[in-house]
């Protein structure tokens, strides 16, 4: 990528016998909002700390605007970081906290005052400059942390689970505010989270971390619709997985046999004949009908019995015991296909080939 603001090349971090980050390569375009999504211990925060300069990589290169960052200490990198618990200096007022990075850059006093006031009003805390961090609510502290990391106009902003300590309602509000700030300021942001919903809502692209590696990177829609690995399919949204062996790879689809079923699905990645693979299908892409009814030719179909139904208002969720597994089916209420089934009803679950993806066990 020519306009990459940040580039990681095969970055590794090894602590004794533990590999925390195992060869991460990624490029961030200017103005992009990229999320590092993964469970705790997947290496996303360590990767962030290496970009910030707080952790030294064991191997690999990190480049900011094409310049290697590795030899620079954190205080010479000019990268904004918002920490998980804000890390506001408790002995300084809000205004002093925000002025700190400017003072370190020897900005003139009058200009510091101006810029602090501007960024404070930007985050909606114009009248709070004289307060101490301990006199603010969690959401306000979060805004101050954001203001402090932005005020020196860094080319790159790193955020480490910045909303983790807030309640759900405030989280959603802050997500929108951060998104707006991102759009208005044109900042490049790397955002670490373990919350897939948060990543889906906010990001231009998401890098899914697992075991110190990036399993898949792509737009939210891309990851949701076309997961390449079992982990990604499972971690982002709800999914049904059927294990089997690949018996045929044809133009556009592949055939997977397992548990007495033969299923066809789009080839998600580089599925090869004879390997173990999974068919992944989203609950809302599956349909239910009476077992006797014919389905469109070529559709995947399996019969089973309803073991659970949950009414969700706009939709209804069924758990169907079929093909040796519990299949989750979500049907829109009032749609053409909607028929209410009860527990114990025999049903057929079916879906279109292009709505299912064949995925491998893990990234290569």
């Amino acid at each position: 990528m020519s306009d990459a603001i940040l580039e990681l090349r095969d970055v590794r971090k090894i602590y004794g016998s533990v590999t925390a980050v195992d060869g991460v390569s990624v490029a961030l375009s200017s103005g992009e909002f990229l999320s590092f999504l993964g469970p705790s211990g997947s290496g996303k925060t360590t990767t962030l700390a290496m970009i910030a300069g707080l952790v030294e990589p064991t191997a690999g290169d990190i480049l900011l605007k094409g310049q290697p960052l590795n030899p620079l200490p954190p205080y010479r990198r000019n990268i904004g970081v918002v920490f998980q618990n804000y890390a506001l200096f408790p002995h300084m007022t809000v205004a002093k906290n925000i002025a700190f990075p400017l003072e370190m850059r020897r900005v003139a006093g009058a200009e510091i005052e101006q810029r602090v006031a501007r960024v404070l009003s930007l985050v909606g805390l114009a009248d709070f400059g004289a307060r101490l961090p301990s006199q603010l609510s969690g959401g306000q502290q979060q805004r101050v942390a954001l203001a402090r990391a932005m005020v020196f106009e860094p080319p790159l902003l790193l955020m480490d689970e910045p909303l983790g300590a807030l309640d759900k309602k405030l989280r959603e509000q802050m997500q929108l505010e951060i998104k707006q700030l991102h759009r208005n300021m044109g900042m490049s942001i790397i955002y670490v989270t373990h919350d897939q919903e948060e990543a889906l809502t906010m990001s231009d692209r998401i890098a899914v971390f697992n075991n110190g590696r990036i399993e898949q990177i792509g737009t939210p829609a891309d990851l949701y619709e076309h997961p390449q690995t079992r982990f990604v399919a499972n971690f982002i949204g709800e999914t049904n997985l059927f294990a089997g062996m690949v018996s045929e790879v044809a133009e556009g689809y592949c055939k997977i046999n397992g548990n007495g079923l033969e299923l066809r699905a789009r080839n998600g990645g580089s599925i090869k004949k004879g390997q173990k693979a999974f068919v992944a299908v989203r609950p809302e892409r599956t349909m239910l009908c009476e077992p006797g009814r014919a389905v469109a030719p070529g559709e995947n179909r399996m019969t089973g019995e309803v073991s659970e139904t949950v009414y969700l208002g706009r939709s209804r969720k069924y758990v169907v015991r079929a093909g040796g597994a519990d299949v989750t089916v979500v049907q829109q209420i009032g749609s053409r296909l909607d028929t209410a089934f009860s527990i114990g009803d025999p049903v057929a679950v079916h879906w279109k080939i292009e709505d299912a993806t064949a995925v491998s066990d893990s990234a290569i």
């Binding site: 205080y75 998980q84 200096f89 370190m104």
Partner: protein, 274 residues
């Protein structure tokens, strides 16, 4: 008529108050008696004094031996306190924030002067100082007292460092502060209450120190505690009570100051702001 349960409750309460009062008397009475005797008009140590006068304070401040030893004590206490504060703070920072091997052993060694019997330390210092020719010198006293008081500073600073989240330091680094600025602007203001209590403790310990001072003192240079010791061994008059009262007042003042500072440091995190 009181029910039995209320009566036993009443009895227990009375007993608790009595025991507490006796304990306080046991702890405080000797000091109070010394204070009272220091104002005695009698010619020797007796309690209660027949009447009051300031003669012993007059004698104290008129006797060059006492003046010299008080001066010596102050000459020792002030540099000792500052040296212990600087060294102890540096040691605590190193122990808390760096990844040096053998941290536990180093901490143990630094704390040793509190644990090892003073007489052993005194003998060791005396032996070493004989080689270096430091016995009876101001420098020798300052060095010896610093060894004895550094552990107090280390422990108070370590305690306050535990309250300083390492994320503050990381945040400051990413905001463009080089390590020295991180220390000056972030860490130091936050641990200042601990540093100052360490300083005050060090000064009180140094001022009260007798055993090591007995070993390394000389007839011409001796702190006030050694002067008191030799005075007690000779003919005892209430001057010793007057000196005792002064020492007591000094310790009381320092502890009061420390408590005040601690209180201020807790209620207002602004105290260290630059």
């Amino acid at each position: 008529m009181m029910p039995a349960s209320v009566r036993t409750e009443f009895l227990w309460r009375g007993l608790r108050i009595t025991i507490s009062a006796l304990l306080v008397v046991f702890l405080v009475a000797p000091m109070l008696i010394v204070v009272v005797i220091s104002f005695s008009s009698a010619q020797f140590l007796m309690f209660p004094p027949p009447s009051f006068s300031l003669q012993w304070y007059r004698k104290l401040f008129g006797d060059p031996a006492w003046i010299d030893s008080l001066t010596a004590s102050i000459e020792i206490v002030v540099p000792t306190g500052i040296l212990a504060m600087v060294l102890g703070t540096a040691a605590a920072l190193g122990l808390a924030r760096s990844e040096i091997p053998g941290k536990k052993i180093i901490t143990g060694l630094l704390m040793a002067p509190i644990v090892v019997p003073v007489i052993i330390i005194a003998a060791a210092i005396f032996g070493a100082f004989r080689i270096w020719n430091l016995n009876g010198s101001l420098l020798g006293f300052i060095l010896a007292h610093t060894v004895l008081t550094v552990p107090y500073v280390v422990s108070t600073v370590l305690a306050s460092l535990q309250m300083v989240d390492e994320r503050y330091e990381n945040a400051a680094l990413t905001l463009g502060a080089p390590p020295w600025a991180v220390f000056r602007r972030i860490v130091f203001p936050l641990i200042l209450p601990g540093v100052l209590s360490g300083l005050l403790f060090a000064m009180v310990i140094s001022f009260d120190e007798l055993v090591v001072s007995l070993f390394i003192g000389s007839p011409t240079f001796r702190p006030v505690t050694v002067q008191m010791w030799s005075d007690v061994l000779g003919d005892v008059d209430p001057t010793i009570a007057a000196v005792g009262t002064l020492l007591f007042l000094f310790s009381l003042l320092v502890l009061l100051l420390e408590a005040l500072m601690r209180h201020a440091g807790m209620s207002s995190p602004l105290m260290g702001q630059s």
